[in-house]
């Protein structure tokens, strides 16, 4: 018997082409990160030399540490605020201007980053805030909060309201009903939102370069300024590590969402 779901030759070719388009540059970067040669484009055999170099590069390590701290804190704050906003917009009573509010929440999704960055810079200057870790964190929270809100709100929208009503009927006050029933059911979306915020923050160059101050460069800023002086093979090693980190995060996220979807209802959109 023929398998119904077998891929045709055309499908295989288009899949291969698409994947190559997406991953070939990354693959080359990863391979060259193990290059022994000092020249980026010349292959000189396998080596872990550039990883070693990176771990001894204090400025680079500091930038990476800065990036991680910013990503974790801004993702956490953004998840908190974004979830609250999503709950308010989809569960609160209908108030005047509700549509306007939800529209305004989504605006940063399509706002050019240069504008977000510049406006935040102006704000921080006006407030006379010292630019550094906190300004970048706040800026990244602004950027990523709307992504969290979108993810969580779509999950809330697909959730049956009568579940909360059933919880109230069975003796929960509204707050309790939310914690006991709604929160566990939207947890996968909250986790997914956090991961999204984390990777967006880790990846951001434009907004960070507007809002950071001297001595507190994030990893992308550091890499960018190094590359302007010429690509060092060390950069390849750093990028490979970042890719590995993000891959791990994404695998965990999809496993978490698969696990929770096997417990009931559909998986969170990721």
């Amino acid at each position: 018997m023929r398998k119904v779901s077998r891929l045709s030759r055309f499908n295989v070719a288009s899949l291969a082409l698409g994947l190559a388009f997406l991953y070939l540059p990354i693959l080359i970067l990863v391979i060259y990160s193990f290059n022994a040669s000092r020249l980026v484009t010349v292959w000189g055999g396998w080596s872990l030399r550039w990883y070693h170099e990176f771990f001894n590069d204090r400025a680079m390590i500091e930038a990476a540490w800065m990036s991680l701290r910013v990503a974790v804190s801004s993702a956490t704050i953004a998840t908190l605020i974004g979830t609250l906003a999503a709950v308010a917009l989809s569960r609160g009573e209908r108030f005047r201007g509700r549509t306007l509010f939800s529209g305004m929440l989504y605006a940063p999704l399509v706002m050019p980053e240069v504008i977000t960055g510049l406006s935040l810079l102006l704000l921080f200057v006006a407030l006379n805030a010292e630019r550094g870790f906190w300004t970048v964190t706040i800026a990244h929270t602004t950027l990523t909060m709307c992504f969290v809100a979108v993810v969580v709100q779509s999950r809330l929208g697909s959730l049956d309201r009568s579940l909360e009503e059933a919880a109230m009927d069975l003796g929960c006050d509204p707050m309790r009903a939310f914690v006991a029933v709604t929160l566990p059911l939207i947890a996968p979306a909250i986790v997914a939102g956090w991961m999204l915020a984390f990777t967006l923050s880790l990846d951001d160059l434009v907004i960070a370069s507007f809002t950071t101050g001297p001595g507190s460069a994030t990893l992308p800023i550091r890499i960018y300024s190094e590359v302007r002086l010429g690509v060092k093979p060390e950069i390849n090693a750093i990028c490979t590590l970042v890719i590995a980190l993000i891959a791990v995060v994404i695998v965990i996220a999809s496993l978490a969402s698969k696990l929770s979807s096997s417990q009931g209802e559909s998986a969170a959109p990721l």
Binding site: D160, A166, M168, D169, C172, D173, Q263, E265
Partner: protein, 389 residues
Amino acid sequence: MTDELPGTDAIAEAVGERQFAAGEPLLRIDGVAKTFGTFRAVDGVSLDIKAGEFFALLGPSGCGKTTLLRMLAGFEAPDQGRILLGGKDIAQALPHERPINMMFQNYALFPHLSVRDNIAFGLKRAGMARADIATRVAEMVALVKLDGLEKRKPDQLSGGQRQRVALARALARRPQLLLLDEPLAALDKKLRESTQGELMELQRRLGMTFIIVTHDQEEAMTMASRIGVMRDGKLAQVASPRGLYEAPRSRWIAEFVGDVNLFDAESKLRDGHRLVIGTRDAGPLVVAEPREPFGEVRLSVAIRPEKVKLSRRGPVREAGHGTAINQLDGVIADICYLGGTTTYKVKLDAGGMLQASVANSARLDVDAYSLNQPVVAWFTPDDCVVLPS
């Protein structure tokens, strides 16, 4: 929010602890109204429900029956009127402050919890001891015959099993009043019928008060001891199933509950203690004097199809129908065989159509009529109901 409502906890305590004897007045709905925007969903409904009753709210979709139920559960607050449970006004109390539980139309089972935890949910909230919860859950599981499925999640259950879990969860807290919102709508016909029987049995055994909302008049007739028919936010009639079917109060109710033949009245003539009503489609019909005088409103005569008997028309009229009863000549225009009964449509010589439902009491069709066969349709004056149009 509880602070604004002094005494709501006291209500829950007082009513929750007290067991009402069957027949005692339990719930009084007094002039309750609810408006959504400009739409008056419930328009001044008053109703008394006694403890131990199985009451059905019946009506087409959009008639306000679900809104009324949601006000009883506390998900909507009435704009006007009072809801008295055991003498205390609970109209503004929140859902968790009422000794009332509801079974939702889509069951609303918590997908992240097992069957056991779903049933135990309300008991945990009530602060029951662990051991007592375990006992009660086991009791409920046995009651709705879910043994062996306690550890399953809702999405691993069939529709019928989910319905049972929802029922067990709503019953677990032993509410004074159980509300059921279209509880059988999602089940297929066979399962629905057996579940109807089980629900009735359960209600009798527990002696609990049930209020069920349904759009299915057969379901309401089968299960409920009393039915309230709702239309456009108002209670059109409250009666026993028999009262509703045999003595509907309006033409609309007669048409909504079961099948009916309706003839518009054109004239009215008193003949002793009988009334002769002239109709355009069926000629003059002798009817029993209505219990209440109608005055000068337009009237209709209603006859249920199963009250109409058919006889062969021939040179010698068959015995069994005298002269005082209504005899209408016609020919069979349509035959609809339904297994237990056959519905004949008779084209009357007077012009109208008359439906007659005849029980197929014999397996061989010696009694059956054929298409275009001339027949006499007859019924007694007492089988006719005179209704205001």
